[in-house]
């Protein structure tokens, strides 16, 4: 067709540029991960924890950053994954780590569906309150079902098999870390594909103007519910990773505190971009680890100061502001 002859290059270039961008991003994650492995061989447990939480933060980003749904109850999805994987191992003897991960993902998806159906009944502040109510209900349910979950003592007795029958989950946490890094990379690749897909575009549309989306004949609610389920898969994998690597699941994984902290990490890094979520998580947890080791008694003040500083000097979040600045420099050069 004549029209397409106009500039077939531009679209192709855009496509190639985004794909290159994604590849660079993935490569960066792997490189940082490998450097982390060699630079902090004794801190792998912390690094694994960061990866698990990063999956939760990514999952919040899917609904908050990409669809505009604010939530303070997302740990429900993470905790569901953690408990499902843990219960499968402790009560049913399903100790294969890959199988546990799949169970976690499935449970996360289910929890995503349930909490999505409730939370999406309102907007704005009432929505935030619904999400708080949901996480408290999940928390109470886990506390009550103590014969399954161990209640407040935590669910212990989770002993995952060697990964692929070859690699034991050892004291040094090497296997858990490598497995976690692998999961993270796979998830980020899939999410890259997702956010660039027609569905990803639809989700961004929902964030910017739901009314316009429905005027195009698409169902806003269905988009949001589907995204909630996907988000549940991601968070559930994070929860399962947590259960596998620490071999115990506590009520904290279903808590308001974790939900709120994860949201703070996301906003810290910058919403609406996968890398923002990762940068936010790493910065927050690393900062917390360093300051709390330096002063276990009064580190909270430092974290508070960091948050205030970010709002004042990097209002789009750390990654968002950096990307914006780089974009401006790049723009001037062009």
């Amino acid at each position: 067709m004549a029209v397409t002859m106009h500039d077939p290059m531009t679209a192709d270039k855009t496509r190639r540029r985004t794909i290159t961008g994604s590849l660079i991003g993935i490569a960066a994650i792997i490189i940082v991960g490998v450097i982390g492995y060699f630079l902090f061989p004794n801190n792998l447990a912390l690094l694994t924890r960061i990866i698990a939480i990063a999956l939760l933060v990514l999952s919040i980003d899917l609904v908050t950053g990409y669809c505009g749904v604010a939530t303070l109850g997302h740990a429900a999805l993470f905790g569901a994954g953690a408990y499902a994987a843990g219960i499968a191992a402790a009560h049913y003897g399903i100790t294969d780590p890959v199988l546990m991960t799949l169970i976690g993902a499935l449970a996360g998806a289910l929890a995503g569906l349930v909490s999505g159906l409730i939370i999406l009944r309102a907007h704005g502040l009432p929505q935030l309150v619904l999400s708080i109510a949901v996480i408290h209900l999940f928390h109470e349910a886990a506390n009550k079902a103590s014969s399954w979950t161990g209640g407040s003592d935590g669910l212990s007795g989770i002993a995952p098999d060697a990964l692929l029958g070859l690699f034991e989950f050892d004291l040094w946490g090497r296997t858990a870390y490598v497995y976690g890094l692998f999961l993270l990379v796979v998830v980020v690749i899939l999410l890259q594909v997702l956010v660039r897909s027609p569905f990803g575009m639809l989700a961004r549309g929902v964030r910017e103007d739901p009314l316009r989306i429905s005027a195009m004949g698409a169902s806003v609610k269905s988009v949001l519910i589907r995204m909630y389920v996907i988000s549940g898969v991601v968070a559930g994998i994070g929860g399962a990773l947590n259960a596998i690597s620490t071999q115990v699941v506590g009520l904290d994984s279903l808590s308001f505190t974790l939900s709120a902290e994860a949201l703070v990490m996301l906003v810290l890094g910058g919403t609406g971009s996968l890398y923002g979520a990762l940068v936010g998580t790493v910065t927050f947890l690393w900062f917390e680890d360093v300051v709390s080791a330096a002063n276990p008694f009064h580190w909270l003040t430092m974290v508070g100061a960091l948050l205030i500083a970010v709002v004042l000097f990097a209002p789009k979040g750390l990654y968002g502001t950096a990307a914006h600045l780089l974009g401006r420099i790049g723009g001037e050069r062009r």
């Binding site: 029209v3 397409t4 575009m201 910017e208």
Partner: protein, 256 residues
């Protein structure tokens, strides 16, 4: 398809409290219709649009689309049946490009917008159609800019492009030229000329020049009821229309 009109509104009624905002309105459209709906401020045009598109539920009366009763259908379902609207105040995704907008609409029409893998840029049919529509409306050069970076007049054109991409049977244009500087209305008119011939179009508009150039038929709404239904030539001669417009609308139309 049956022999009835493509689109029909029967005895539509909407009350807010004791006030009838839409009072027993009936009208119908056939393929190829070019209808302008006009009326002074407060005549109930916006309410009527919302009733037709399904954003408001009527107290009584019915809406039919292609022989089907859609009175109880949601706005979304009506779009899928071929009733598409544009907005009086631009509603677009400011962080996305025109190309993405139109491609999304095309994908949505084809039922492919839920696909979670692949990019529209690697779907040749979608790309071809999107670029064709953008080209038709003269937006192709802007296709890679963010919408927030392009001029308002062009954003209005993109609204029309979006509607076209959905290939409607009935198109409801809510003041397509609202907020566009006089110098650029020609481009809007130009775009309207390119709408498919068999499409039924209902336009709500204040700009009488545009109405006269575009419409083959005019309906005047005042105080919630239809007071005139006829040709553009006759509308200015009608006594009731003059009465309804005296004062309030005479000023508004010259200002528009």
């Amino acid at each position: 398809m049956n022999d009835g009109p493509l689109f029909e509104v029967k005895n539509l009624q909407k009350n807010f409290g004791g006030l009838s905002v839409t009072d027993n309105v009936s009208l119908s459209l056939v393929p190829g219709d070019r209808l302008a709906l006009i009326g002074p401020n407060g005549a109930g045009k916006t309410t009527f649009v919302n009733l037709v598109t399904g954003n408001l539920a009527p107290n009584s009366g019915s809406v039919h689309l292609a022989g089907q009763d859609v009175t109880r259908s949601s706005a979304m379902q009506r779009v899928r049946l071929g009733l598409v609207r544009s907005f009086q105040v631009t509603r677009l995704f400011y962080d996305m490009t025109p190309e993405e907008h139109v491609a999304l609409a095309v994908l949505q029409r084809e039922g492919r917008s839920g696909r979670m893998i692949g990019q529209f840029r690697s779907m040749p049919t979608v790309m071809d159609e999107a670029r064709e529509i953008l080209h038709l409306l003269g937006l192709l050069e802007l296709s890679q800019f963010k919408v927030r970076e392009i001029a308002y007049g062009q954003q209005r054109l993109l609204e029309i492009a979006l509607a076209m991409a959905l290939r409607p049977k009935v198109l409801l244009l809510d003041e397509p030229a609202a907020g566009v500087p006089q110098s650029e209305t020609a481009r809007i008119e130009h775009a309207l000329d390119k709408l498919p011939a068999d499409l039924a179009v209902m336009m709500i508009e204040h700009d009488m020049d545009l109405v006269f150039r575009f419409a083959k038929r005019v309906i005047v709404l005042a105080a919630g009821t239809v007071i005139f239904d006829g040709s553009p030539q006759d509308v200015t001669q009608d006594a009731r229309v003059r009465e309804a417009y005296l004062g309030s609308y005479a000023n508004a139309s010259s200002a528009a």
